[in-house]
Symmetry: C3
Subunit: 227 residues, 3 copies
Amino acid sequence: MEDQILALRQEIAELKNQIGIMEDTHKIRCLHNIYGYYFDACLFEEIVDLFAEDGEVRFMGGIFKGRTGISRLYIDRLRKRHTNGHNGPVYGLLLDHLQLQDVVTVAPDRLTAKGRFRCFMQAGRHESTGQTRQWWEGGIYENEYVKEDGVWKIKVLDYRGLWHADFDTGWAHTPPNLYPFYSTTFPEDPLGPDALITENKPVLWPDTDVLPFHYPHPVTGEWWKKR
Amino acid sequence: MEDQILALRQEIAELKNQIGIMEDTHKIRCLHNIYGYYFDACLFEEIVDLFAEDGEVRFMGGIFKGRTGISRLYIDRLRKRHTNGHNGPVYGLLLDHLQLQDVVTVAPDRLTAKGRFRCFMQAGRHESTGQTRQWWEGGIYENEYVKEDGVWKIKVLDYRGLWHADFDTGWAHTPPNLYPFYSTTFPEDPLGPDALITENKPVLWPDTDVLPFHYPHPVTGEWWKKR
Amino acid sequence: MEDQILALRQEIAELKNQIGIMEDTHKIRCLHNIYGYYFDACLFEEIVDLFAEDGEVRFMGGIFKGRTGISRLYIDRLRKRHTNGHNGPVYGLLLDHLQLQDVVTVAPDRLTAKGRFRCFMQAGRHESTGQTRQWWEGGIYENEYVKEDGVWKIKVLDYRGLWHADFDTGWAHTPPNLYPFYSTTFPEDPLGPDALITENKPVLWPDTDVLPFHYPHPVTGEWWKKR
């Protein structure tokens, strides 16, 4: 009888782990989708609070490290530029940042996770602001997550903007090397990153590349490698 | 031994609840995605059947209450306007209504739930219909759901169209106050809503606002408030 | 006491099945989203490896059967046309193939499953390639999956491109019958399908139709039928 109870206990422990992984997966999908809604709404303080203390953001070829670096990017640079420092949406600015196509993979120990997502943007300023501009953008996220005190946080947010298209002329006519990636770091550049990406460097349309996948091929089990 | 079995029974009850919440979450995501596919296909009767008897739709500043109000909106107004009363797609009408970026939260008692979703539309009429028109639209849903006799139904469908863009000219050139929100109710307006939204009123691009989130910040646990 | 243990064992078996279905659902969503990322990146060999040996692809009115037929489509036709035979992205080709709005339904025996997804494309070639072209496309997938040796694979990939729009002029001005569906099979057409779709034939915008749903109405339980 004791043996039977022990066996049941083990089965229950395994189920607990399985359901826990499904719950973690759900929380990470939500975490990323919530990030997307904050971004549209220019809630940059709320975005910074999604990160672990030692989190980092990879953006435009630069790496912003820790809460200090992440605040430099979102508060000092992006909030200043987009909303002139206001934490929230402003008249005539569109910054829609649709999130979709998630592939979330939780580690067996349920303390870390990875997620790939796609982003599709509609952005610009209304003509009545006197700064008319409108563009489409597509990109991919390959992120890492960490669970601290039972709460999932972003460890690495790696955003690769892949193509940018002026609304009127489209991606077929995007100028090559449309904008430069970071080449200088903080503090030389007072709003710059803490380091530069040196491996798997981002490229910009019309250049193309494969952003490596955090998962193996789901049928063959093989990891993709550049050939 | 009895104690051990009792403890196992309690653990199993807890697991049952956890897996039940994951199943509910899946059903609600599907419910909303299915709604989206019905909308594209102008299957308006099928949409009305997704609602609870005392459900409601919030649309364009109006509130349509119960099956009667909901039918007034979908059957008497939208179906009449889009397909001249036909329940299904018609030649040359595009009404694609992409659904994505879900954040679904099931209540602990598993009888109610809330969901935030994003919508991205491609719509218009082909030139061969003689009514050429084409536009992009972006919006957010903040919905409520109820489980009745084990079946999840829509309790509140709150759609906020946030921006509208003519295909040719784009969001940078959308006329302010592009279309009026409801200002008259049924029966004064025979196709109008049963009531008007008075709190968190919708705004239209180039005006912007934050549609409150049904969930707290996933890391800090704080609720967002307008400052 | 034995009775109580037997009852617990049954409850645990039921929970195992429930959590298994949730895990299967997650795997199938990922399988499809991964397919989408491979497609963007022109990783056609990786796509072929997602299929069961007796899998099939339904595309442009044709049915490509088994690994041989599927390779004929992806390797011999699409890879040749898009990347001139290179397995990976090439300069100046955009083939973004966003995947969203999943409705995944796993069969009770957990050996087969069905999934409906939406696709939204941004595609074309950059002007610097000398083959300037850019278009939007929308479509729906209604797929079937099979679990073989514990691994989920695509059994039927049924892609229905619903509308195609030139970037400059939009869906309102798409020429009717923009491109022909397959009318000849392999080997008469050396790159053609093994068979032609004869039921629920695809239609192309400005013609419209309902692609039947693999699921009943989630509230009424009724199956949709053309009336």
